[in-house]
Every structure is written in C-alpha cells, then in structure tokens.
C-alpha cells in the first residue's frame, strides 16, 4: 500500500468515527451506527461524504441527524462535508447492531425481535419486558411516542414500556 493510500484510509476511518458517534435525537442512547442509519462514509476529491438513510419516510429526526453529521465532520477537520440521504435499500431493524439492542434494553425500550419477516410484521411475537424480562406483556397501542415504536404494558411488573417495532 502506498503511503498516500494509507493516509487516505486513515482519514476515512477518522471521518467514519466522527459520524458514527452521532446519536439519534429521539433515542439518545443509540448512535446512528448502532441503528444502521449510517450507511457509508467516504472521501471524494478530499471532501468527506456521509450517506444516511431514514428509518421511516416521515422520520422528523432526519434533518437533525443530517445537521449533526455535518457538524461532526467539520469538527473532525473535514471542511464542507456533504450528507447524502438515500432511500434504497429500505432501512430495516435487522441492521440494528447487537450492541444497540442491548443499549435499548438497558434504556427501557424493548428491542426489535428480528429477523424481520411477514410473521414479525403481522403475527405478534412475544415481547419481553425490558425491565423485568417477563413475557407476560400486552400491546396498548400500535403506535408509541415516535414512529418507530409501539406502546406496551408489562402485566408482571405493571410498568408501561416502548417496543421498537420490526420493520
């Protein structure tokens, strides 16, 4: 590997690390890397380009995330970075990292039960309470505090909780 190539790889790694540290404004324990929202970071003619994809079509956090990615790249020394939003391939909860799922659970949100299939979308699987791990839970509402979550209640410990929907 030439030294120029090695320099460029180091820069790309640095740019990736800067973007990967950006957190989801609605679920601040998760980074956009944990979520699978960060798809790619590359250097094009010396300019950093980050590629992100929305979770839901109308996710109101996307503009905020794009702005934070841009700022993170600026802070890391990449001037005039570009943030590109792509729709394809469509985001899926299957892209959420295991570390991300653990963080969600610790935060009090039941992580998506993957992998996504028609069964997961329509036949309700058992959702374990993120607090007491009981499977004796009941869905309160299909839609919760944000587009990506539904609202559940644990019948064992009586606590309400959010479940990150499979999509």
């Amino acid at each position: 590997m030439s030294s120029a190539q090695a320099l460029s790889d180091d820069a790309t790694r640095l740019a990736w690390a800067a973007c990967a540290a950006v957190t989801d404004p609605e679920v601040p324990v998760l980074t956009i890397e944990d979520l699978g929202v960060l798809r790619d970071v590359r250097l094009v003619d010396g300019r950093a380009e980050a590629v992100i994809t929305p979770t839901y079509s109308g996710c109101p956090a996307m503009d905020m995330i794009a702005l934070q990615v841009e700022l993170a790249l600026e802070h890391a020394g990449f001037h005039a970075p570009r943030v590109i939003t792509v729709l394809s391939p469509a985001w899926t909860t299957d892209w959420m990292s295991e570390a991300g799922k653990d963080k969600l659970r610790a935060y009090g949100i039941a992580p998506p039960i993957g992998p996504v299939g028609r069964r997961a979308l329509f036949g309700q699987d058992e959702i374990a309470c993120p607090r007491c791990s009981s499977s004796n839970t009941v869905k309160v509402s299909e839609f919760g505090s944000t587009a990506c979550k539904s609202h559940w209640r644990c019948k064992a410990c009586a606590e309400p909780f959010d479940y990150f929907k499979c999509i």
């Binding site: 839901y56 079509s57 996710c59 394809s88 391939p89 299909e142 999509i167």
Partner: protein, 251 residues
Amino acid sequence: MSTNPLFEMSLRLADDALVLGHRLSEWCGHAPVLEEDLALANLALDLIGQARSLYSYAGKVEGAGRDEDALAYCRREAEYHNCLLVEQPNGDFALTIVRQFLFAAAMHPFHQEMTRSSDPTLAAIAAKAEKELAYHLRHAAEWVIRLGDGTDESRRRTEAALDHLWTFSGELFEVDAILRTAIDQGLVPNPTDLRAVFDATVDDVLAQADLARPKDGWMQTGGRMGRHSEHMGFLLTELQYLQRLHPNARW
C-alpha cells in the same frame, strides 16, 4: 394534465399521501383517547414523509424548477390529482377509520407491487411505503373489527361510514390513458390486477367485524382529473394558508 406518465404518477401518489396525511393531522389533540391521538399523528407523519419523497422526485422529473414545497403548497385546486376518498372530511372516528382502512387495503398491495417498478426511485419509495402501510392496514383493520363488533352505537356509525365511503372506492381502481401508459412502461402496477387482494382483505375484515359489504353501485370519480368535492377547497385553504400569505416563507 402533464403528459409525462412518470411525473403524473409521482404527483398522484404524492397528492393522495399529502391530502390524507393532512386530514389525519386534523385529529391531533382531538382523538378519542391519547393512544389514538398518537397513532393518527404517526400515520400522518408516514404519509407526509412519503409525499415529500414523491413531490421531490416529481419536481426533479418535471425539471421546471419546482421543489417539494412548490408542488405541495403552490398549486391550484384543479392541479391536485388525489383520489376523492382522501379529501373527505374526518367526520366521526368511525368515518376516519373506514377511510383509512379502504385506502390502506388498496394502497398496501399497490406499493408492494411497485417495489418492482422499472423506475428505481419509485421502487425505492415503494419499498419504504409498503412497510409503513402494512402497519396502517393492521391498525385500521383492528379498529373496523372493534367498532363493527362493538356497541350498537359504534356499529351504527361504522355501517354508516362504510355505506357513505364505499362510493369512493371505485376510483382507487380506475385506469385512465396516462395510467395505462405508466403501466405499459412498467412504472406502476395495474390497480385492476390488485382488485382481488383488496376484495379479500375487505371481505375478511368485514366478516370479522360482522358488517355487510356494501353493494357496488354508482361510484364517485373525478379526482384524478382535478375535479374535486367541495371539501377540497377548504382543505387547501388551510394547508396553503402560510405560503399564500407569506410566499416563500421558510421554517
């Protein structure tokens, strides 16, 4: 009407999503229970998100410098090509739910098929919308069953909503000349091919709700050509208020 089938199809789908999303957003703060307030706002958010992607793309395809805001806020009533179903007023909760159910039952299979569009952007938008509409359909179907098989009052209201809105269901399956061209180009699926899926969903859910399916009779039409019901003008007055009063205002 534009003669570019890609532009026209993007616009129709965007108008459907925007107008229904706007109607649902009118429930914000007024739904019968807090959970439904959140649910209806979430549905609205999905639909307006889909509309944004479609309007942005339509603007690009048209190449006349119109962006998503120009298309959403700065057209006249006759230039909106949404189906008449989505512009019907919210009425009571039963009417809103039945409207949502009929729309999702028709549009979920449509987007599922459109994921195979010959146009990669339409396919990408459909791949997202398809997953969202699966949830919309399930939510609406559960409510139709609960209301139809609920109290005498909820049943009476749901029957009335179904009878009233059924006359708007025919338009969802109409194929005019420009849609025919779009189908021939592989841009969008043929809705008449998807009629059987819609019928099966409707029959299944109505059977569980113990509701009779209305007879197919005279059907409303005109939205795709920009001929709207009287409600559309009032809706647009509210939707466009800020842009009309303060042109090019930015958030």
